[in-house]
Structure formats: C-alpha cells, structure tokens
C-alpha cells in the first residue's frame, strides 16, 4: 500500500535528477538566507553554483550538533519568525537544546512523510492509532499525529506515561496501531500482564511503529510475540524534521529513506570520506525541501549502512540498517573502525559468558592491542582449564571474524567489572595518543 505511489516508486534515475535539482536549490537557499552557511561556504571557497553533481557535495562543509548549539536559538532559521508556525526542541540534556522551526509547508512535508511511513505498514483510515510518544516540544508525538491526521486514522493522542490508562484506552477504544518507544512497548506489555491481568496479545493491536531510541532485533521479536503484532522501526531526528526521515516497510529489512526530501550519505566519521557502498559509517543528512531550518550535510552521529539491492516492496528510496550505535562510541584500532556493540553481539552469540564486558586499549610496542574482559557465566564455569580456554578461544575467534582484528579475551570473575547506572563505561583507552 502506497500513500504517494509516484514519489515512493519513482525510478532511481528520475529520483536522482530530482534530488540533484533540489540539492542545488537548497544550497543556494541556505547560502542566501543563513549567514552561518554563507560563512562556512566562503571559508571552504565554494559557491552554490559550484554544485553540479553529487560528487560536488563533498566540497560542502558538514554541519554538526555543536554548530547548532552555537547559533542557539534561531541562528539557522532561513525565514522570519512570522513564517514559522511551530517550534520543536530537543531536551538539551547534553548542552544547549537544538531548536527546529517549521513553516506551514514544512509541516505539510512532515505530515506527508509520516503518512507514507504509516501507510507503508498498512495503517488506513479504518485504524485507531494510539500515539504514546510524548506530545510537546519533543517531535515524537506531533510527528505521528500529523501523519495519522493526513491518513484519517482515528487518533488517540495519549502522549507518554500513565501506563495503566494507556492499556485501558487500548482495551476500551480498540486501538489497532501503537506508536511509542520500543522500551515503553515492552513495559506496557509487562504492565498489562503483571499489574492488570490482561494478556497483551488479546488486545486488538495489529501493528506498531517504534523508535526514538536504539533497539535490537531481539527486542523486536519480543514485542511482536508479546502483543501478537508486527513491529516496525521508525527513524528521525529533530534537526532534520522529527520522526519520518525513514521507516521500515513490511519486509522489515531496513528503513526506506524518503529520498525526495532527505539526501543521505554515509561517511567514515574520522576522515569524512564516503564509505564503500554497504559499509558501516556515520549517517549524514541534507534536507532537500525544508524552508524553516534547512540542514546541509548534518552529521547525525548515528551509525548505519545502506542495505544493498532493490526492495521487493517496490519503493526506490534507499534503505538503511537499523541504527547500530553512535559515533561517540567508536574506537579506531590499527586503522580499523570498531564499535562496542559489535563485540557485545559476539559475546551474546557465544554462550557461556555474561554480556558484561570491558574493552581495554593499550599500545605496548607502538602497536595497538585490544583486550576484551568478559565475565564468566556462573552456570558455565567448568572445573577444567581446557574447557575455559576453549571458551576463550571461541570468543576470540568470533570477535576476530566480526571486526577483522585480533583481540585478546580475558575471562574475569562474575560481577567483577564495574556496573554503572545508565550508560556503562565500555572502553578504557590506555594508549598514550598525544
């Protein structure tokens, strides 16, 4: 099911032509209206008319989150405030918040991409959609709201929180579509069962759109099993538009980017160069149609890769893998990029060790060495040295196969690695790199 078949299935060649045309327009638009972009381009010795092909994109400087904070609040706005009809903002937990301003047309586009996203997973005007993302400055609630409004589905704007009422609403209103963060979905299922004696699979829910945080395939399967639904991944960020930058189709094999509105690149976060097709790197996005706050080559810090090949669903927008991590977590060792989550996956796949680990980087003889300390699972501790050595070697082999470099695995006692609330400190860099 398509919301906008022409745009969604536009032949690649045609789509690229449209993208290039829009790219040239938006660069010119930003250059003329936003002093920040003009200064950046001038410093790089580049003029909007120099952009003639996608290759030329490489000459345009990136925009980072730090840049956005520096021009807080309205420094990147390309229109006077009188033309801005709505403002959203990130929470600003890690510094000054990022402010997004939408013109009336920006809101139209937002509704359009969210309508496409929801239609793609089978949502129609016959559905009752409960939006349990926060409404307010956070883009989650209203982004879904505008999309569902376009489709004409019955919206239950529950917003986040009040778990008992959420479940009562689902039961009484016969909610068929759930939109919230994946961790909240799991909590809802657990709460329904344990606190209210309601089997979540007996609710009328059939699909859900989950995002705004990192999650795994295992979590997807768990949500699907508990509610008896199909669970889909949504991607977006305040700096670009909010939810609706990309969404999974029914194939569940990557998220289609709405490329007529958002131009994606994937770069090596260290060098800024494009990575080989299919390789992991940092997602960089350029808004192609935004009026309020055009965003040129915005570094999302999210790690993903393009899914190769065409999608059987017929949509031509390229797909990205679910977000794997943040560039902030990246480690570069002997010239190879690696992420703690890759090591975590190996640990989870090799049974017998706990998913508690620490990565220690040293440089004893001018060469980086990685030691991965992993807690031994109590259940699999064997009296035999051989069995433990075998476990260690299996893990070393698995990690080497996955990340491409040799690591040394050390098994440590259970509960001996430091625990932290929230974000665990996974990497200890003892290399003296100054």
């Amino acid at each position: 099911m398509y919301w906008n078949k022409e745009a969604e299935t536009m032949p690649r060649e045609e789509l690229q032509k449209l993208q290039l045309q829009r790219l040239r327009e938006v660069v010119k638009y930003a250059y003329e209206r936003v002093p920040f972009y003009r200064k950046r381009c001038e410093a790089a010795g580049i003029k909007p008319e120099d952009i003639r092909s996608f290759e030329d994109l490489k000459y345009i400087p990136f925009t980072s989150k730090a840049d956005l904070r520096e021009v807080y609040p309205f420094g990147l706005f390309a229109v006077p405030l009188s033309e801005i009809v709505e403002i959203h903002s990130s929470s600003g937990t890690t510094g000054k918040p990022v402010v997004a301003g939408y013109t009336r047309r920006d809101l139209e586009v937002w509704g359009e991409v969210m309508a496409r996203s929801l239609t793609m997973i089978g949502v129609t005007s016959q559905d009752v959609i409960q939006i349990a993302y926060g409404y307010g400055l956070f883009t989650g609630g209203l982004g879904f709201h505008y999309g569902a409004l376009k489709i004409g589905a019955t919206i239950v704007p529950a917003s986040a929180g009040n778990t008992r009422r959420q479940i009562t609403l689902m039961q009484d209103f016969g909610t068929t579509v759930l939109a919230c963060t994946p961790s909240y979905a799991l909590y809802l299922a657990e709460y329904a069962r344990d606190e209210m004696g309601i089997d979540p699979s007996t609710l009328k829910l059939r699909v859900g759109s989950f995002g705004a945080e990192m999650w795994t395939e295992e979590m997807r399967r768990e949500i699907e099993k508990r509610f008896g639904i199909k669970a889909y991944n949504v991607y977006g960020l305040t700096e670009i538009i909010g939810p609706g930058v990309a969404h999974e189709c029914e194939e569940q094999k990557g998220l289609h980017i709405w490329e007529d509105h958002f131009l994606p690149e994937i770069i090596d976060p260290e060098t800024g160069e494009w990575v080989e097709e299919g390789k992991e790197g940092e997602l960089v996005l350029t808004t192609l149609t935004k009026e309020g706050v055009p965003m040129i080559r915005f570094r999302t810090r999210d790690i993903t890769s393009f899914v190769p090949g065409e999608c059987p669903c017929g949509r031509t927008g390229r797909r990205i893998e679910r977000i794997k991590g943040r560039t902030d977590d990246m480690i570069k060792v002997r010239g190879v990029m690696l992420f703690p989550y890759q090591i975590e996956q190996c640990i989870l796949e090799v049974q017998g060790v706990e998913p508690h680990y620490q990565i220690i980087l040293t440089r004893p003889h001018h060469l980086d060495e990685i030691e991965v300390q992993v807690e031994m699972a109590k259940e699999t501790f064997s009296d035999e040295v051989r069995a433990i050595e075998e476990l260690r070697r299996r893990l070393e082999k698995k990690i080497e196969e996955t990340v491409g470099i040799r690591v040394k695995v050390t098994l440590v006692e259970p509960k001996s690695l430091p625990r932290s609330e929230g974000k665990a400190k996974r990497v200890i860099d003892k290399r003296n790199l100054s």
Partner: protein, 143 residues
Amino acid sequence: MKVKQISIFLENKKGRLYEALKVLAEAGINIRALAIADTSDFGILRLIVNDPEKAKSALENAGFTVKITPVLAVEVDDRPGGLAEVLKYLYDADINVEYTYAFVEKSGEKAVVVLRTNNLDKTISVLKEKGITLLSEGEVANL
C-alpha cells in the same frame, strides 16, 4: 564412592587466593587437600574440604564462582611406585587422568590422592577390581 571437590574460578589478581581462603577460614571450613591449576590469566583452585556445601555457599555469598565437581579419593601405598601402580591400572583400561593431587593427611599408613579422570564410573570399577580402596565422603571429612 565419589567425593565432592570444590572448584573456584580465580582471576589472576593480587590477593584473590587469600580472599578465597579467608572466606573459608571465617566459615570454619577445614581444608583437606588443595591444588591450583593456573594459566596466564586465571586459575582454578581445587579443594577437598570437610563440608563442601557449606564451603560453596560461603564462597558464593562472597562473590566467588564455585562449582562442585565429583572426584575420587584413592588410597595408595606410601612407598616408591605406589601411585604409579594405580595409574598403570588406569592406563591399561584406557582411562585418561585429567588431574591428580595429594592429601595433606594420611589414612593410616596409606597416602591419599585426589583423582579426576575422563570416566569416573569406569575408574571406580577398575580400581575396586584391583583391590584399591576409595574413600567415602565421610571418611575424607574425618581424615
């Protein structure tokens, strides 16, 4: 005829062995036999004690990874070739020894060794057939 051995996973970290033994001392556990298998990263401390269950729970409460492994406590003649003779029986029966270590105390005129093989049940029947004495849990506790 099997005897319970306590195996403890020890990281190669300063004071870890001391901490384990301190926990046992505080729990009033008496150690009858002891051996350490070590690699560059970790060690396995193997103990025969007077009360294996109590020792296990005391160690676990202190955060150690502990496993109870069945082993044999074998009486051997306290003379040159005593142990070799026992091992010869196992060799002939195609049984592999995984490890062995000795008790501190003797049982009368006999020395006692701990024996772990790849097939304990077969080991028991071979040694019994040869008239070798295997000590029971109770006998070991009272050595």
